[in-house]
Symmetry: C2
Subunit: 339 residues, 2 copies
């Protein structure tokens, strides 16, 4: 296949991180196309020392492309995925448009990368809070069977996009000046100095779509379709780095020591869990890093078979761009022996 | 009894809020003493238009005092509570020094204010995260029996004191200038743009003392000594207002509608729960207010007898100073008919 890579949505938070990762990871590409909506095109971005123009997305733009990394909202993903695939590209889509389609694999390479051995031409990239939680839980699957999951998230503002980061900064400046951070330009509540228990729209069951994404995606990626999962998703005034307080209940005890041992040897995970030395996962420490950091492992006080822990990840990396680039890398490598 | 009120720790976040509340609520006092450590004394504070000096705490300072509101750390509380009581004062202590002493009532007046009918001369005021969660749960006690509780907190920096708010501001200014917020002067991790999964020191079981306070105090105040409770307590870059994501499991279903109806009629609670209109509890909305605001009520997806909700409160008010002043008010009123 062609090793020309396209990024659709190249100017956004996730698109720019994809570009940075292709460079950082020395991705074996032979050509690069940066695509965006007409409004965002006309700009340029740097890649390996060269200045690359951002072009308005058209069908022509996907000609000769082998891998198309999509970092756009659902409607645009649904508009352009068929076009890119028809042009011969493999689409790796960071939107949620295809994640819950049984025919589309939803992949965290360290967990279910084997799904790529079937050479799917459309692959869904998971939600930014689901990916790290799933990775931490997958490492524990050899130890016990997961039976119930309670997750509370602490999600950074970069997950809401570039404009949201500007809103956070604007609100913080109001706060420093002694006034209450104003409502956002989109009418939503201020990010600064606030916790907002709504991310994405509400579903009929009283959960937000963001919360349900974690429910649906955890089940799909861990191949536990009936797993009971409940989630509270909250936006906090952090720039980069999503955190999650996780209570996982198994069919037998998983001790904190056993969990840490499993996490230490699982790809993509790093353990920061030494309370006596004030070592635990924090978003400020994970921003710009690839690993999901886990710690605060302790027995759930309501269930001897329960394990509580805290996980953080750079939501733009493992929660989005990194996972997509890893899917592309694994797709290129092709079928491998089972891990 | 004397209606002279003393505040020990008058210059701190909680002490100053106690003073503001005595004025706001037209507390029926006949005299006021503002006491603090020698280092903090010499300053003055305003009360009902008068300038009141802050005096260094001495045994003499409690002479003639009827009610002593303590807003100091454990060691100082333990040093001065016996002195104040020997001088004839009723001590209402916001530290955790006496909270777990079976002989000392731990009181949220709307929940177990009847304990004040025995005229205790030492009363413990609960933890800033425990108080709002307990209030929200107490309202549901007539509907069903609580059997298990999972709480994740989002705690504001004011809970760590005045210096901590300065640290938050310092870190935010670094962030706005494009640099990483530095470690705190006390060596702890930056508050700004961060989530810190440690509040107070660690216990041997891997939980922080802050987390265990919520466990112990929920059990004691709700009079459910064996209740299984597990907690994750996290500091977030909010100035005022603690939030909690709560998963409460009962012996029978408690519907979101039934919960909201119970909350609406319970003293001290306010419901903000209209997702379609983006109405839900947020710390920016509760700062400076007395009510605990509850919302995001929904069935826990892992348990038909489970209810998930989100509660916020001004941690300096219902979480601390307000509750203490309410205890004082209720103590003065004396035995009443059961509510």
């Amino acid at each position: 296949m062609s090793r020309t890579v396209a990024i659709l949505g190249a100017t956004g938070q996730v698109g720019r991180t994809m570009l940075a990762l292709l460079e950082e990871r020395a991705f074996p590409l032979s050509g690069l196309r940066l695509l965006a909506s007409p409004r965002q095109s006309g700009r340029t971005l740097r890649f390996r020392g060269a200045v690359v123009p951002v072009e308005p997305v058209t069908a022509e733009g996907f000609r000769g492309v082998g891998i198309a990394l999509f970092a756009v909202k659902n409607a645009l993903a649904q508009e352009w995925a068929p076009v890119a695939r028809a042009a011969g590209a493999v689409v790796i889509d960071n939107s949620s448009a295809y994640r819950y389609d049984d025919a589309v694999p939803l992949v965290v390479p360290e967990v279910n990368g084997d799904l790529l051995d079937a050479r799917p031409t459309l692959v869904a990239n998971p939600n930014c809070s689901a990916a790290p939680v799933v990775l931490a839980l997958a490492a524990l699957q050899p130890l016990a069977t997961l039976q119930r999951l309670v997750v509370s998230t602490y999600q950074s503002v970069s997950g809401a996009g570039t404009a949201a980061l500007d809103e956070l900064e604007r609100g913080v400046r109001h706060g420093l000046a002694g006034s209450r951070p104003p409502a956002r330009l989109d009418g939503g509540p201020a990010f600064a100095y606030n916790c907002i228990p709504q991310i994405d729209r509400f579903e009929d069951n009283g959960y937000t779509r963001e919360e349900m994404k974690v429910v649906w995606e955890t089940r799909k990626i861990l191949r536990l379709p009936g797993l009971p999962v409940t989630v509270t998703a909250v936006r906090v005034p952090v720039r980069i780095g999503h955190s999650a307080a996780v209570h996982a209940h198994f069919d037998r005890p998983v001790t904190p020591d056993a969990a840490r041992a499993a996490w230490r040897t699982f790809p993509g995970l790093e353990v920061a869990d030494d309370p006596a030395r004030m070592v635990y996962p924090m978003p400020l420490d994970v921003a710009g890093r690839d690993a999901v950091i886990v710690g605060r492992a302790r027995v759930d006080l309501t269930d001897p078979n329960g394990l509580a822990f805290f996980a953080v990840s750079d939501n733009l990396r493992k929660g989005a761009a990194l996972n997509a680039v890893q899917i592309a890398e694994r797709w290129l490598v092709g079928p491998t022996v089972a891990r």
